[in-house]
């Protein structure tokens, strides 16, 4: 039997549902995280307010939020006696999305903030000189930092798809319902089914490679290489 036919045999209904669930959960969480994180990062970069430095420091701290801590807090909130217990989200894909969404917000906010503050002051001055109002200026700045913002989304997706601690706690790793690629790998490893665990690992790596390839292609499209003498303005200019 060839390795390919072995792989096809391996791709049964359960494995496909595990893979699809992983991507549905992570992509949904990152999409929702982007909707919140990109405007927050923009606000942090462009608006001056009291306590801004503290908010930036907190955002940077939460970028390294331990998944099991998020999972634990969310578990307590979603459990029957918890504040969000009546929503009955515990051990559902929604709880998994919520956990990854919470973890993606600081990553997208922090990296979007870094991308936007890196836009050279000269380009901002030029936009103001052209007569841009506040709304137009925000649009121009976001457009200039789209490569960095895309990098923020790529990083958040990478963190989400490979995350295990939080979704294990709030999802429960229930077969055909909340079992994702990472939680399945943990399960099969603990039961000694190393072949299955390794195969799932390969699926996880190769599919996330494809998603990142698409995002990287988009980045290259937005940032063509300067082949001649002109170099776009840098922060230090």
């Amino acid at each position: 039997m060839s390795p390919f036919s072995l792989f096809i045999d391996f791709l049964n209904e359960e494995i496909i549902s595990i893979t699809l669930l992983s991507f549905q959960v992570s992509l949904s969480a990152v999409l929702l995280g982007s909707i919140i994180g990109i405007p927050l990062g923009t606000l942090l970069a462009l608006k001056d307010f009291r306590g801004k430095e503290l908010v930036i420091t907190l955002t940077n701290t939460f970028m390294g939020l331990p998944p099991v801590v998020v999972g634990l807090v969310l578990y307590l909130l979603l459990s029957r006696s918890g504040l969000l217990g009546p929503l009955q989200l515990l051990y559902t894909p929604w709880a998994m999305i919520l956990a990854q969404f919470i973890m993606s917000i600081p990553i997208i906010t922090g990296l979007s903030y870094s991308a936007i503050v890196a836009v050279p002051q000269k380009l901002i001055d030029h936009a103001i000189s052209l007569g841009a109002d506040r709304r137009q200026l925000v649009w121009i700045v976001i457009n200039e930092s789209k490569v960095g913002i895309l990098a923020a989304i790529v990083a958040a997706f990478g963190g989400a798809i490979s995350e295990v601690g939080a979704i294990m706690l709030v999802g429960g790793n229930i077969r055909y319902l909340t079992r994702a690629l990472t939680t399945a790998i943990v399960l099969y490893t603990s039961t000694g089914e190393f072949d299955t665990a390794i195969s799932l690992g390969i699926i996880l790596l190769s599919t996330s490679f494809v998603v990142n390839l698409v995002l990287t292609k988009l980045q290259s499209k937005y940032k063509p290489n300067s082949k001649k003498g002109f170099k776009p303005p840098r922060l230090s200019d």
Partner: protein, 242 residues
């Protein structure tokens, strides 16, 4: 008419401009000449309201634009266009860079394409319309910035050392464009540290050294019969400021 009245500017207790005054009428090219760090760029930024002076007035057709509210400042800013010393282009195609300014200033959408083509033709970049701005050479990028400014049909053109990084062929192109613009009743305020360029282009010249104007005169008088001894030596090439 632009009148600059007694402009002072300090950064961290260091005076960059010390009571600068001059005025310039439509159809004229006014050149501020001076060494690097003399305050030339700061004057242009203050006229364009990108920086606030410590004190002084800028009169635009007798209106002190520095005392206006922000939305009124934007309205006056839209009568001007500034070319920065280093090309400032956005991460988009050549024609999109020109369209950006036109859209911000709410030009009629039906004439956008025509205006973009006209301005690109004027600077010799018509064939580059669909290229990405970051693939242009330094000279092409500076000419594109000039096209961005010209497309806006400003009443006042502020040019910060527009030829500083250009080769001789590009310098001739840019100088001709500036002359044509002034001929059509445009008002140009231009900075340079190149004495010969100032002599070729300007109607009036001011020599700025350490934030103060040492002498301001017509180009003919500035080079023919300077009043200040330092200007005379500068013109004869006996003093190199900076």
């Amino acid at each position: 008419m632009i009148e600059v009245h007694n402009i002072w500017k300090s950064y961290r207790n260091k005076s960059v401009l010390k009571g600068v005054s001059f005025k310039i009428e439509e159809g004229k090219i006014f050149c501020v000449i001076g060494p690097n760090g003399s305050g030339k760029t700061t004057i242009l930024k203050i006229i364009d309201m990108l920086e606030e002076p410590s004190r002084g007035e800028i009169l635009f057709n007798s209106v002190n634009i520095l005392s206006l509210k922000e939305n009124e400042k934007v309205a006056y800013r839209k009568k001007m266009a500034m070319l920065f010393q280093q090309p400032t282009l956005y991460n988009m195609k050549v024609h999109e860079n020109i369209a950006l300014g036109l859209k911000i200033r709410k030009f009629d959408k039906t004439i956008l394409k025509q205006k973009i083509q006209c301005s690109l033709k004027e600077v010799g970049l018509l064939d580059y319309a669909d290229k990405h701005a970051y693939t242009l050479s330094g000279g092409e990028a500076q000419r594109l910035c000039l096209a961005m400014a010209l497309a806006l049909e400003p009443e006042v053109l502020l040019l910060d050392e527009p030829t500083a990084n250009l080769d001789p062929a590009n310098i001739i192109i840019v100088e001709n464009i500036i002359r044509n613009y002034a001929k059509n009743n445009g008002l140009v305020i231009y900075t340079t540290h190149n004495m010969f360029e100032a002599k070729r282009l300007a109607d009036r010249i001011a020599l700025l050294v350490d934030g103060s104007i040492i002498e301001e005169a017509s180009t003919e008088d500035f080079f023919g019969s300077p009043r200040d001894e330092r200007v005379a030596k500068f013109v004869r090439g006996e003093i190199v400021f900076g």
